[in-house]
Symmetry: C2
Subunit: 270 residues, 2 copies
């Protein structure tokens, strides 16, 4: 089996590309797709589900819910809706970005909020056959976007729940710097928690807009092949998503970005 | 004892302020000072040593050596010179920033370079009565500036050596996001490794120039008082340096920045 058969294109890599065209490109190439809630809602959840089903495209994840460091009823409701959407789309996992430090709080209090939210949401997700995939983000986002910063922290948060209910995202861009990363991946595998595996590269110097400066595969310093081999050695054989938030890519035609990203994927994992 | 008696002004907080004026301001207020190699060399090491001695100002650290992920003879020699300078200045510790991923290397190979360099330098430092203070930097600097990213990693690197030879820097700006930080501080204390304690705040949104966007104490989201209490609870009663790399501060008169920083320090730790 060629590694290309495991390629999944996260829609955010060509953020402004029409969802239908993205799904069609995936269908033509036997690729999976990582969908995003905004374009799904724009087309309608049922219509989106029919689109991928008719095209025979595997939805590898739905992005993105979470933002529940302040677990208000509204935040919980929105996450329940996201779980329903993932179930309707046949997405095995829903990616969760935990959210910022709430006004007046600390990073420690925010982390308590995440625990509370997961306790409420995990049974709901389990009933609907969706795995909540906790994504640690790079620590440069710890104050304004995601207080969960390491794979081990995500695994500790997942620990109270079954692996069917709560897993983690292994995204190279966010965790490559961590001296514990290899042990973290081994632990995630042992606990059966790898709910999503995503690739992006880290380029130097860091672009000024840190949110949208993820590198095309091969353009940066991350040993992506070693990540694939390490994750695969744990017994993981699932899809590998490429998710690049990158202003320069977003400015280009989606079809071109898709083809380039698929080629970079094949090259990086050759 | 007022916490202000433990205030030490790192010269980089007013980077373009004349070293003599900075030392005089510290003398007038009973503050310590963290010196930097470039201004020390500009004045001359002996003249700088005489300056602080005559002024009765405690040098709390010398910044900065390291950059030995590729431990060439030139890099090692430069670190030996830095150790000599620290000894001449009466600085108890020399701050080490490990350096970038060398061309063609990986973060793992770079970390091996750091181990090699420390093994060569630790005995030299011990002979001269200078503690090498390994500073973990925030992971956003992992590719281009410092491959050591957590307190635990720094402690692992220090472990083969006596605490007199090799310790760590506890700098709130770099480690505040780490879910292991409180355990890391406890471990550092147990092992007697806190060679320098530095404060800076984390502001949101992250400024575009990430190197020079450290926040004035109290302007950000770090619970600085909790850091002081936690570090002090371990038995540490040493100086507390404030080191802010901040373009806006650097553009202002040094005396003004000094007074403001000292007041912010008193306020944050009140």
């Amino acid at each position: 089996m060629s590694v290309l058969e495991r390629f999944s294109f996260n829609h955010a890599t060509a953020k402004f590309w029409d969802q239908r065209e993205a799904v069609e490109a995936c269908a033509r190439t036997g690729s999976g797709i990582g969908l995003w809630r905004e374009p799904v809602q724009e087309m309608g959840v049922e219509a989106s589900a029919k689109l991928v089903q008719d095209a025979g495209v595997q939805v590898t994840s739905l992005c993105r819910a979470g933002f529940f460091t302040d677990p208000t009823p509204a935040a919980i409701d929105d996450n329940r809706r996201a779980i329903d959407e993932a179930a309707a789309l046949g997405a095995p996992s829903l990616v969760l970005v935990s959210g910022p430090i709430p006004e007046g709080g600390t990073i420690d209090s925010a982390r308590e909020g995440v625990k509370e939210a997961l306790a409420v949401l995990a049974p709901y997700a389990l009933e609907r056959g969706v795995t909540l995939a906790i994504e640690p983000l790079h620590p440069m986002f710890a104050s304004d976007r995601c207080v969960v910063t390491t794979l081990n922290e995500a695994l500790d948060l997942a620990a109270p729940f079954t692996a069917e209910a709560v897993g983690v995202v292994v995204d190279t861009y966010h965790i490559w710097w961590d001296p514990e990363v290899w042990r973290g991946i081994a632990r995630a595998a042992t606990e059966g928690r790898i709910a999503s595996f995503q690739l992006a590269d880290w380029i130097t110097p860091l672009p000024a807009g840190v949110l949208t400066g993820r590198g095309q595969l091969g353009d940066g310093c991350i040993d992506l092949k070693r990540y694939q081999e390490t994750v695969d050695a744990t017994g993981f054989g699932g899809p590998i998503e490429v998710e690049l938030f990158n202003d320069a890519l977003w400015a280009r035609p989606g079809a071109e970005v898709f083809a380039e990203t698929r080629a970079a994927f094949a090259n990086a994992l050759a």
